[in-house]
């Protein structure tokens, strides 16, 4: 957990509007746990003023170059261009200076090694699931990824999950890739088949709400990774709070998404009020 003043190794568009950026980060991998994130400082000059939070897609090493230097360790993030900050990021090049704070936050609990794992990702919400899938596979778990998106363009990095040995199921709202329909339909089918499965989800709020409803009915343990507007990322500003279970106007119970999350157990949260303001709202982004 530190601030890396470092540089970009590569930054490429992987699907229309989606980018993959690799950032030099020696010794980052040893610290990072699945579901954690980083606060990315887009450029030394303003704007944007504030850093932007991004999930850690993975950490890794670039093979040693012909330059004879040792392999370079990197953090990889996947991001979607939604506003000024991400637009600026998409214009950055290898060699540009950036800053990174992390790894931050509370990641996923890997759960019971013997139970089936179902990972549900919606669009860019897939990001924190890769490190999780890798960790689960290393423990020997059986892992399924249900990946949903509006169209083909929103389906990212699925082959990378497959290479880990994860069973992947793709669905799109318009049927342009995989099954036509919502990822939650696939979830119901899989839970019919594996009623003991543990569920891990990240994606737009309507998806998370549907997943929560399904898991509650079926008593499947659920962890969700949330998003929120963040200024500090370390628990200092209290800007990123989300309503906890039992929250009321009289007795408010706010949880810090950056420090107590971004991953929460479903039962920690007040789902009746969650969708109103917090969480990742893909709709608002367009």
């Amino acid at each position: 957990m530190k601030n890396y003043a470092t540089k970009i190794l590569s930054n490429q568009e992987i699907s229309p509007g989606y980018y993959r950026m690799r950032i030099l980060a020696p010794k980052f991998g040893a610290d990072a746990r699945p579901g954690q994130f980083v606060m990315f400082r887009v450029q030394v000059a303003l704007p944007p003023l504030l850093r932007r939070p991004f999930g850690i897609f993975r950490t890794g090493f670039l093979p040693a170059d012909c330059d004879g230097l040792p392999p370079k360790e990197y953090v990889e993030i996947l991001y979607k261009v939604v506003g000024g900050g991400t637009k600026t990021m998409a214009e950055l090049h290898a060699g540009d200076k950036v800053e990174l704070l992390g790894p931050l936050g509370r990641g996923f609990d890997c759960g019971d090694i013997d139970r089936e794992k179902i990972l549900v990702g919606g669009g860019i919400g897939l990001v924190p699931l890769y490190m999780l899938a890798r960790a689960l596979k290393q423990q020997g778990c059986s892992v399924r990824l249900l990946m949903g998106g509006r169209t083909r363009d929103d389906i990212l990095a699925v082959t990378e999950f497959e290479r880990l040995g994860v069973h992947t199921y793709v669905s799109t709202d318009d049927g342009s890739l995989g099954e036509e329909g919502f990822v939650t339909q696939v979830l119901e089918r899989k839970l019919d088949k594996y009623p003991e499965a543990e569920v891990f989800a990240c994606g737009p709020m309507p998806m998370l709400e549907a997943v929560q409803a399904i898991c509650t009915t079926r008593k499947a343990p659920l962890q969700v990774s949330l998003e929120a507007l963040m200024a500090c990322g370390v628990g200092a500003c209290l800007g990123c709070v989300v309503k906890g279970a039992g929250h009321s106007d009289e007795a408010p119970k706010y949880l810090c998404t950056c420090k107590e999350g971004p991953v929460f157990w479903a039962q920690q949260l007040d789902w009746s009020k969650l969708g109103e303001e917090e969480g990742y709202c893909e709709g608002c982004h367009s």
Binding site: M230, C232, V234, G239, A251, E277
Partner: protein
Amino acid sequence: MSCGKKVSNMQKKPNLSVEIGGIHLKNPVMPASGTFGYGEEYAPYLDLQRLGAIVTKGLSLRPKAGNPTPRIAETTSGMLNAIGLQNVGIDAFIEHKLPFLREVNTPVIANFFGNTLEEYGEVAKRLADIPEVAAVELNISCPNVKQGGIVFGTDPKAASEVVSLVRKSLDKPLIVKLTPNVTDITVMARAAEEAGADALCCINTLTGMAVDVQSRKLRLANKTGGLSGPGIRPVAVRMVYQTVRAVKIPVIGVGGIFHPEDALEFLIVGAKAVQVGTANFVDPAAMISVIDGIEQYLIKAGMDDIQQLIGSLEE
């Protein structure tokens, strides 16, 4: 060349220490309340011992939940916040936050507020008993919470009342933090001084608002929020300049400090110390750069004591 370097290495380090209302600070740089949590949050990123002081998030008698979300919005070179003074309350502060701060060799300044005059008095009494609290900073200026001080901070009579009460309730150094949302800050500054403040802190946030033009909703659930960041610095420097000339007690400058030069502006117009707020979010080590930068400036300018810098404006 190497000779020049040698000389500057051998040069005596300038004295950066300042006194604010009787407490001694090793340098004039500290975090602004509400942007540094209770210190602990930033411990992984900078050496807290290097700071002049640590200023806590605003404390109240009982824990406070704060405002609904969204609570923050970025604007051009600034941010709006309407946190709503969420804080753990004085008991939890003593139990959970003080033990950590006790181990840090840096004076702790407790920022606090109340919802009523009486509550202000009660928090002050509680703070009076905490030996680790070197000084208190009285927030009469938060623009976000209706009962959180806006009345006190914009009316000289109300400000005078609350400062007098707090003054009677504790005998630690008392810093009064002023709001910029007034016609004449010197009126408020003098009211606070006369009522017994040992020092003043200018400025808190400017009241602002932002609209999400897609949804046609305000970007903060609280409607208005406090504007902070680099964009407000010229207003803050002006108010510190005016306040320094209106009162005899020391003034702490705050508003949009990111770089050493920003802090120098405040010191040159007469601030005895400075606070760094929003910059902590962007660069957790900002205060360290500011301290180092002030030191380097003094060396270059041939000053061996920061007192030579403070108020050195040529007019």
